[in-house]
Subunit: 115 residues, 2 copies
Amino acid sequence: MAEDCLFCKIFRKEIDAKEVYRDDEIVAFEDIRPVAPTHVLIIPKAHIPSVHELTDDHAAMLAGMIRVANRIADERKIDREGYRLVLNKGPQAGQSVYHLHLHLLGGRGMGWPPG
Amino acid sequence: MAEDCLFCKIFRKEIDAKEVYRDDEIVAFEDIRPVAPTHVLIIPKAHIPSVHELTDDHAAMLAGMIRVANRIADERKIDREGYRLVLNKGPQAGQSVYHLHLHLLGGRGMGWPPG
């Protein structure tokens, strides 16, 4: 956990977020600037700056994040029409918070290219 | 393996692709319609239709796909400026081949929203 990290604070409930899922290792919450009818961020408890720092040791955590994304897609019934999962690393990708977060986007047609 | 799947055929080398990485479980190759200076697809050997079918049993495979993406980003020296990883599920997300594939995009600024 990092003291000043926005997403660590959300995990510790020091900052409010519209949570849609929580367990001991993963929290999911509504993006505060949604760009689709469903736009949820899925974060691990572990303060990992980005996808670039992931190793094989994080395999179970990563699978857990995907499991939560799929579960939310099912709950919102966007599993058939479809959804997009996005991980941004670094400034050119527009990563805004340096705590790993998976974007789940759906509920509308998603254009191509993806940004 | 699925007989008629385009990406299974690439894995089996029955169709040519500009491969950038190969091991026994994962192949990465240039997207034939690149939308960024780096646009690589990373696929597992296993014929899994989409991210929606992933379970915790696929954790090691998933971590392997991320490892390969990070390695290619490092090789192309886009790790600092950044890159975007995208998984599309279903028609609204524009999934075109129903064999799980991770898009690695980089080498330019990536806009927001991601499609």
